[in-house]
Amino acid sequence: MSTKRMSFGQATVDATRFAMRQDERIIVLGEDISWGGNFGQFRGLLEEFGPKRVIDMPISEAAIMSVSLGAAVTGLRPVASMSFVEFTFGAMDEIVNQVAKFRYMFGGQTSVPIVLRASDGTMRCSASHHSSSLEVRFAHMPGLKVVAPSNAADAKGLLRSAIADDDPVVYLENKQMTAKRAPVPEDDYNVPLGSATIARPGRDVTIITYSIPALRALEACAQLEAKGIDAGVIDLRSLVPLDMTTVLETVAQTRLAVVVHEAWRFGGLGAEIASQITEALFKELVAPVARVGAASAPIPFSPPLEAAVVPGVSDIVAAVERVIG
């Protein structure tokens, strides 16, 4: 397949366009999306598909999700933009109590084909209402699938799969990553939900991560290589379903693992992954699985504070060195 350099945001437009051309039932709704969205992640959709399929919503987050739900169970396939992930809190009742539970609590009568798109992670110097990583809040709710790609190619393929999926999928696109460019296959394609990828093989230790920290992990590996440490990176891409097979096969080899995310370490998804690894490979592990995540504070505005709270490359390097001992 021929590739083209494009930004993460453009790649998601690409995926949406392929999907919408193929299936009339797909509509997109969210605040200000006909102007392209805050990160250009909807650019050009209005022009191609018109205001019937690309709907600018009032600042009514609860309505965005509940309207999507009503539409989804009556024959449409809504892609709902929640803009910044922090704004999902205003629709958390709809997301958790309704969207996630609808299929189950009604005994499988309906499926709920909704994609919830939200820009997550730290937005440099934007403080705590515009910087957070909430994946565990979605992952800890049976009935929701959750994906968090780390590059434009996966962004396209995973969004295509998410839109094709009959279950609600929370699609997390990191704020600092939207503008990042990479080669992306031009044709239509899928990355299946629930498949991790080995972003870099490594003999000595396995770093397990997703979203923007995957890029930081690769940087960390380069630094570690200089120190003679061969660290590998598993990019989970999907959090629910979670591809523990790839994780366990890899860690069984390296016998050392570090889990990294931007979310708060305390109660974050890293604890789940670390626990599953430990449960499966207790005998094989040489050291306890290390966890890298944000320190326990809302994300502050001021640069040195933000850097102190949000984990960076150096934190990953330090964690790897710690487990290697």
Partner: protein
């Protein structure tokens, strides 16, 4: 069609009656079952409000949508779900409308456009708006009706959904079943306006108050709102005044209201009123009414039998239906 009751076809008037009786008979029976300890969880009965579900749903097709509330049996029955399936759901049986996953507060039948009772107050507003958006998008003639309580009108979701529905002139009707109470709290104590219909003005849509204990008034108010919706002229807010005869749930000690108030309101029972009207109009004789009641009571008893004969779901199916693919278990 003959229309003796100013504007309501006789057949429809009778259908409304049958639906009201079915709801009443079911709810009285279910209250009994609950008090006998045969049913678990919460049961909120619809007794006293039957004219609303019956009157409104007499104007709907199977393909039209409704959203319901925690007090949803009446809506489920009026929209045509079989009593067996509702009863079995209340028992948590695999033969129930939701295969036992939902229980009393989550009865649904998507094939009949009944998009679910809902345990979250105010949960239905946006779902109904979304179904209406979908109908409009697909260019069908379907409408979407949202039933909700006078307590629910203070949820933010009311505001968000009505504004959205109004902006898009969606084929939706928002029907407040104003039974004067939200749980134990009388409406006036927590709601800033008396006439809830005035809230329609915030969305530039019609707001109409009518007697929700009179099937004819309900029918006429709903008729106009539904016509408006189907004609593409947007949503309406109906404020239908009613009263729940029972407690908030079966077993409620009702310390918050006095017996006299309840007695006074019971005098306005929508079913005898409608029977009288039908009788006056010579559409339904007293004998016919007696027959209907008896047959309906039998159908409810049969529903219990159906439920008693039905099995529980198998424990090893507990993770079915979380996702569409079994692979995701």
């Amino acid at each position: 069609m003959a229309t003796t009751l100013d504007g309501i076809p006789n057949e429809v008037a009778l259908a409304i009656h049958r639906r009201m009786v079915r709801i009443r008979a079911f709810e009285e029976y279910v209250s009994e079952l609950f008090l006998q300890g045969k049913l678990q969880g919460f049961v909120h009965t619809y007794i006293g409000q039957e004219a609303i579900a019956a009157g409104v749903c007499s104007l709907l097709d199977d393909s039209d949508y409704i959203t319901s509330t925690h007090r949803g049996h009446g809506h489920a029955i009026a929209k045509g779900i079989h009593l067996n399936q509702i009863m079995a759901e209340l028992f948590g049986n695999v033969t129930g409308a939701c295969r036992g996953r939902g229980g009393s507060m989550h009865v649904a039948d998507f094939s009949l456009g009944m998009l679910g009772a809902n345990g979250i107050v105010g949960g239905g507003f946006g779902i109904a708006a979304g179904a209406a958006l979908s109908a409009k998008y697909r260019g069908t003639n379907q409408v979407s009706v949202c039933f909700f309580g006078d307590g629910a009108i203070n949820k933010g979701t009311f505001h968000e959904a009505l504004n959205f529905a109004a902006v898009h002139d969606l084929p939706a009707v928002f029907i407040c079943e104003n039974n004067q109470y939200a749980q134990f709290t009388a409406g006036g104590r927590t709601t800033a306006v008396n006439d809830l219909a005035v809230r329609a003005a915030s969305y530039n849509i019609p707001g109409v108050t009518a007697d929700g204990n009179h099937a004819g008034e309900v029918y006429r108010a709903a008729h106009e709102a539904l016509n408006r919706a189907r004609a593409g002229r947007g949503p309406t807010l109906l404020n239908l005044l009613t009263y729940r005869f029972g407690g908030h749930y079966v077993g409620d000690a009702e310390v918050y209201r006095d017996k006299q108030e309840v007695e006074k309101r019971r005098a306005l029972d929508p079913i005898p009123r409608w029977e009288q009207a039908l009788n006056d109009a010579r559409i339904l004789s007293a004998d016919e009414a007696t027959t209907i009641w008896a047959a309906t009571r039998q159908a409810v008893a049969d529903a219990e039998q159906f439920a008693q004969d039905s099995p529980f779901p198998q424990a090893d199916t507990a993770l079915d239906w979380v996702f569409t693919e079994a692979a995701d278990r």
